[in-house]
Amino acid sequence: MVDILFYGTVNSVTFALIAVGFTLVYGVSRLPNFAHGAIYVLVGFMTWSFVNDLNLNYLLAILISLCISSLLGAAIYRLVLIRLRGLPTSEIIASFAFGLIILEGLRLQGIGGFKGFIGPFYVLPSFIDAKIRVAGMLIDAQRLIIIGGGLAVVITLWLFTHYTKIGLSLRAIAQDEQAAMMLGVDSDRVAMISLSIGSALAGLAAVIILPLGNVTAEAGYRVLIYALAVCIIGGLGSWGGAILASFVLGFAMIVSTSLFGAVWESVVLVGTIILILIFKPSGLLGKQKELEERV
């Protein structure tokens, strides 16, 4: 029981970390960033590469990769999505294609001596390699870091969007784009900032979560699906909803795993999405624009 609670929480926070970047971008600029999973994986590989090929300090490596990922997010907007705003289909296709280029590019072989990131060799080190014994079970520090990191990200984001100028303009655009533009908020600039923050958040999630496992390109697809799942269930663009949905999903998956076996995990995931969409199309906490966008 204690382990269900603990691992459920870890799992939920993992979901929240993965989804928060995606939901931020969508919530602010209505841009579904289907390259989210790819950025997540890319940051993992970049950090690995900086540490192992360039022998950089781990923290420095993380910092550089996060910077690159946020630049990449801005680049996605500037180069691609800016021309497609308001065309949801094209936005999805283009950002997904961008993600595929990254993911498959990482696995390219035989070009310029680059052999592709294939196989189970890429492991990021844990921040602290320690274990604590609580109530009869061993808990490794990395899982506590995930929980702590998740909390920190959510709090920072909240503070950022409520107390900084950029953050406020993000919320302004999210609430009413027309009015915000009249008050001098540059919609394009805000969208670009939101994408670059969103991408950095994807990267942050990667460096916090990945030390638990290894980095593989295939994970990119899964991360994207998780992010989508959380956002749909919570209500696209609703931040509170996303966090609630992370917990619903996180626990649903852990509970179903221990009750029916892990094979049902993904069935539960997709099943929940479909049920939610049928019975409450706007998601758990999604409120606005139900009529316009969904039904």
């Binding site: 035989g110 070009i111 310029g112 189970p120 060799f121 061993l138 290894n214 697809y221």
Partner: protein, 427 residues
């Protein structure tokens, strides 16, 4: 591991990538006779495929350096036509894999097919293709499913074109159970926890292991199935710990299994991990788990992946592979792919021609001393595994000890004994 260090930074940000050429054939230009064209479907993006490809290339180079294959009275060189089948990659339909094989047959006009595809699903579907085009093929990378030889048995006339030089899971299970039996005798263990990847194959196979082990006097204390991409095994491991198991039997091919073993070491689970663990086969496993994978016992399926002395050729092969590719042979596929090129050479020389029926007759009579032992096929065209290197080919169970893979079973190839992790030593 060093081979996987690559200059990644160079490629960051390069969106327009110049076309790189890859080596698709290794035929020697100097040979006058028309080369024998060997089609090699290989999933290049998978570790099994890559290593199989290395085995194939090594064998073909050796044979060509020695003058080639004697067909009738002409010495003909081998030319490998390697094609990427992309199986074992996510999102790739089987039709795509079959199309690649058809390309070898129809467009490249391959004389025979040797190699993949690795995924059982694809290689079974491919058998119909070989039957339709009446072309001989030797499956030699992956594809362990028992369905394969059952399919041949069902219609031996139709599927006579297909041979399998890689193993069958049936034999590996027997090996595993025999190994467990030995452990029971030596260490007095009798409790086992089973953890598997949730795929059809792992489920079916572990079920058989379970039944055989129970018959052998083992007590099964728990059974865990995790989905293929799971990265958190803590629930299962703590169950295992609580259950008092002494053996953690694993059957999993997902790369994420290495995480399971790291978590196993982190949680100091007092059960020795044994099994079919794709991730732990790799020479890079030690470094990847930072030594936490120590004591893991895993099958490499093929003698020759470690320097043992099963046959005179075993060590020779190991050293040649190491020299050519700079890494030791990984596991499944390296040796059988290498051998099957020699099996082909042997059969062609005995048949004296490349015509399919003559070649099939010759292959059926194969009795070739090779790296793993002696290559023979049974009536279902499945290579015969066993414990006697004079009559069959041998498997290879290793334990990770101090960064190396030490063969511990079968005893003909053993170069060391099983060791126990410190937290399992009886005080």
């Amino acid at each position: 591991m060093d081979e996987s260090r690559r200059n990644f930074l160079k490629t960051i940000g390069i969106t327009a990538i110049g076309a790189g050429t890859i080596m698709t054939g290794i035929g020697k230009a100097h040979a006058q006779a028309k080369p024998i064209l060997v089609g090699c479907p290989v999933p290049r993006a998978s570790a099994y495929g890559q290593n199989g490809e290395r085995g194939l290339i090594l064998a073909a180079e050796e044979i060509n350096a020695a003058g080639g294959v004697k067909v009738g009275s002409v010495m003909r060189p081998l030319k490998l036509e390697i094609i990427d089948t992309r199986d074992e990659e996510p999102g790739v339909p089987t039709s795509e894999v079959l199309l690649a094989i058809e390309k070898l047959i129809l467009q490249k006009k391959a004389d025979v097919i040797v190699g993949g595809p690795c995924m059982s699903e694809c290689s079974i579907a491919a058998m119909d293709l070989y039957a339709r085009h009446k072309i001989v093929d030797i499956v030699s990378i992956g594809s362990y499913t028992p369905t394969w030889d059952q399919k041949v048995a069902k219609d031996p006339e139709k599927y006579k074109y297909s041979f399998r030089a890689s193993g069958s899971v049936k034999w590996y299970i027997k090996e595993g159970v025999d190994l467990l039996h030995g452990i029971k005798e030596n260490f007095g263990y009798n409790k086992m926890f089973i953890s598997i990847d949730d795929s059809l194959m792992c489920r079916a196979a572990s079920e058989i292991v379970k039944n055989m082990a129970v018959k052998d006097g083992w007590q099964i204390t728990g059974f865990d199935k995790h989905p293929i991409a799971a990265t958190d095994f803590s629930v299962a491991l703590s169950d295992c710990k609580k259950s008092g198991a002494q053996i953690l039997f694993i059957w999993a091919y997902a790369p994420e299994t290495s995480i399971l073993l790291r978590q196993w070491a982190d949680m100091e689970v007092p059960a020795l991990p044994i099994g079919f663990i794709g991730a732990a086969e790799d020479p890079g496993f030690w470094k990847q788990t930072k030594g936490k994978g120590a004591y893991t016992i895993v099958t490499l399926s093929e003698t020759g992946c470690t320097p043992s002395n099963v046959t005179p050729l075993t060590k020779k092969y190991y050293n040649a592979f190491q020299k050519k590719w700079g890494v030791p042979p990984r596991s499944t596929g390296c040796v059988s792919a290498y051998e099957s090129v020699y099996v082909l050479k042997d059969a062609v020389e005995r048949a004296g021609k490349l015509e399919a029926n003559a070649l099939i007759a010759a292959l059926e009579k194969t009795d070739l001393p090779a790296v793993r032992g002696t290559v023979r096929f049974d009536k279902n065209h499945q290579i015969i595994y066993g414990y006697n290197p004079k009559e069959s080919v041998l498997g290879n169970w290793v334990q990770w000890q101090d960064g190396d893979r030490i063969t511990i079973f079968p005893k003909e190839g053993a170069t060391g004994a099983i060791k126990m992790p410190p937290w399992m030593k009886k005080s």
